[in-house]
């Protein structure tokens, strides 16, 4: 089995007295979409934040692309090639769409290539091209999500961390965003996708993990999880 691109080992982390992660382990291999599903407060965002450096791991290690990145500052982790689409999007509301995208490429110095990548983003999400002069905060929720994805891609990452891209987005746009995620992956992008919408996430993912109150309780191929009775009952509702 090839060495995973991202490997989280026994990570314990929390906020003050609250222990949000109680020893989480998870692997993502190059070229995969791996999804982490779970209920509100299960520790999905905390797991991502431990990878992106926004939350310090009290125990355990995070390895990325062969390097130990445990305890790295967020900005150095971006330099390592890990970009994130954070929960709630966190775009710059008072900067234009274009300025948001340019900040995504902050660490790059190849001006010409940045320009071509901008065009790529406008091709990927035509609405961003139409709104390039508009302030980020005036976009709709779904458009902001696209902007957050485009901004993360502008750093030309080796891997994307995405936290609930379906949150606050209308179903039609959600479908479009998930199709884009799958396309990005087909072109080679490795993705760790956190979702509450387990059905959508498992449909495009290769593998999945289920987290409950800070611990991984299940791990399997995505289609197996889709058919797992425990997952069906807890996360997929009764509609199928």
């Amino acid at each position: 089995m090839p060495e995973p691109l991202l490997s989280i080992q026994n990570v314990v982390a929390g906020y003050g007295p609250i222990e949000a992660l109680k020893g989480v382990s998870l692997n993502v291999r190059g070229g995969e979409i791996v999804t982490l599903i779970g209920a509100n407060g299960a520790g999905k965002s905390s797991t991502l934040m431990c990878v992106s450096g926004l939350l310090r791991a009290r125990k355990g290690t995070v390895h990325f692309d062969g390097a130990d990145i445990t305890g790295f500052k967020p900005h150095t982790i971006v330099e390592e090639g890990l970009a994130q689409v954070p929960e709630g999007r966190k775009i710059f509301p008072r900067l234009t769409v274009l300025e948001n995208l340019e900040l995504g490429a902050y660490l790059r110095r190849d001006k010409q290539a940045i320009k071509t990548d901008l065009e790529k983003m406008y091709h990927l999400f035509p609405i961003l091209g139409e709104r390039r002069k508009q302030l980020g905060g005036t976009l709709s929720g779904g458009e902001q999500q696209m902007l957050a994805i485009g901004r993360a891609l502008m750093s030309r990452p080796k891997m994307l961390l995405m936290d609930e891209p379906s949150m606050g987005v209308a179903p039609i746009l959600t479908a479009k965003i998930f199709a884009t995620i799958r396309d990005l992956n087909r072109e080679g992008m490795t993705i760790l996708l956190v979702e509450q919408n387990a059905h959508l996430a498992l449909k495009i993912a290769h593998r999945g993990y289920v987290i409950e109150t800070g611990s991984i309780v299940l791990e399997d191929k995505a289609e197996s999880l889709l058919n797992d009775p425990r997952v069906k009952e807890a996360y997929l509702g009764d509609d199928d």
């Binding site: 926004l54 900005h75 970009a83 966190k90 775009i91 008072r94 900040l103 302030l135 901004r151």
Partner: protein, 360 residues
């Protein structure tokens, strides 16, 4: 659409103002005595440089600094010590100025290093304390700083062997204007540089900025250093202009507050706004009040026994009142940066949208 027109107007107004500024020394002699302003403009230029320094820290990076006057003092005293005959260095203006600017930048880093991780209000308090500490230190070191007398006389800049003296008013005017123009250019370039974009990103959302790869500690330190360097420049020029370091009390909290008013009333994060702010506030401070005092004196209405009749004594009350009015009616300043305008009108728009939804 409207934005483009507005920008064109501002650009034209900018050239127009520059034209006027260039013509002032030529027109000034033609004006009757009580209308002369050229002499006052020097102070306005110096305040504009100070304001542009503060604008880097507070306007671009969003770090409230209440002690910018300390860096102006550091600039003035550095220049004085480097040039005055009573000290061993005895440099000329052109060699002392770059060193003065570097000392300012270093002082900025020294203040920045321990404080950079503080947020908002805490940082404001620490910078305020720093301003007081610098002033007290200068007071206590009176065997070096010459106390209230100030370090003097100081050499003036020389041009091809000719030293400007206080009589060369026109030359001084253009020299200060040239310095201001240079500082404007530096500010512009900074704003559009990589580090400038990282400042704005931090001001907008620090966590999001770090997720773009911005190192916030480094970016803030550079902002502190640049802001302090510009403030130090204003201090060095101030000392050279008056041929005196001034006394520590010249660089007190009120100077920091005037600089802050210039940046806030002019428009945070916008160079033209800061220039306009310096002109409005500096103009009020040194032209309007001054002329008013002379006028009242001529009318025999100033009574030295009664402090209330001296307009200068009303200065800070009028400033305070102007600030309150500005915050109430034009919180983004006279010429706001685009982002600031967007933020302050978001609330209004939300309200409007609410109302529209209610009506539908």
């Amino acid at each position: 659409m409207a934005g483009g027109i507005r920008r064109a107007v501002i650009v034209h107004a900018g050239w127009f103002m520059l034209g006027i500024a260039l013509l002032v020394p030529i027109l000034d002699p033609l004006l009757p005595l009580e209308w002369k302003i050229a002499g006052h403009m020097n102070r306005i230029f110096i305040f504009a440089i100070l304001g542009l320094g503060l604008n880097v820290v507070t306007g671009y990076t969003g770090l409230l600094n209440l002690g910018i006057a300390a860096f102006m003092a550091i600039g003035a005293y550095s220049y004085a010590i480097l040039t005055c005959d009573i000290y061993p260095f005895r440099l000329g203006f052109w060699s002392a100025m770059p060193i003065t600017i570097c000392i300012g930048a270093i002082a900025g880093v020294v203040l920045g290093l321990p404080t950079i991780r503080l947020r908002g209000d805490y940082l404001a308090i620490v910078t305020l304390g720093f301003g007081e500490i610098v002033q007290d230190t200068l007071k206590n070191l009176d065997n070096i700083t010459q106390g209230t007398q100030g370090i003097n006389p100081l050499p003036a800049p020389t041009f091809w062997g000719h030293a400007l003296n206080t009589q060369d008013k026109v030359a001084w005017y253009y020299l200060l204007l040239a310095f201001l123009a240079l500082v404007v250019l530096v500010s512009r370039n900074l704003e559009h540089s990589r580090v400038g974009r990282s400042w704005i990103a931090i001001r907008e959302d620090e966590i999001a900025a770090t997720c773009m790869g911005v190192n916030p500690v480094k970016a803030k330190l550079v902002a502190f250093a640049m802001g302090a360097a510009l403030a130090s420049t204003s201090g060095g020029i101030y000392a050279a202009l008056f041929s005196n370091s001034g006394e520590p009390g010249n660089y007190d909290f009120q100077i920091s507050i005037i600089a802050l008013c210039i940046v806030i009333i002019g428009g945070m994060g916008n160079i033209s706004g800061v220039l306009l702010g310096a002109f409005v506030i500096g103009g009020f401070n040194s032209i309007v009040l001054d002329k008013l005092t002379t006028l009242l004196q001529q009318m025999g209405m100033v009574n030295t026994q009664n402090v209330l009749t001296v307009p200068g004594n009303w200065k800070y009350m009028i400033f305070g009142f102007a600030l309150i009015l500005a915050m109430r009616f034009k919180p983004e300043g006279l010429l706001p940066s685009r982002q600031l305008k967007a933020e302050l009108h978001e609330a209004e728009e939300d309200e409007r949208a609410e109302n529209a939804r209610g009506a539908a």
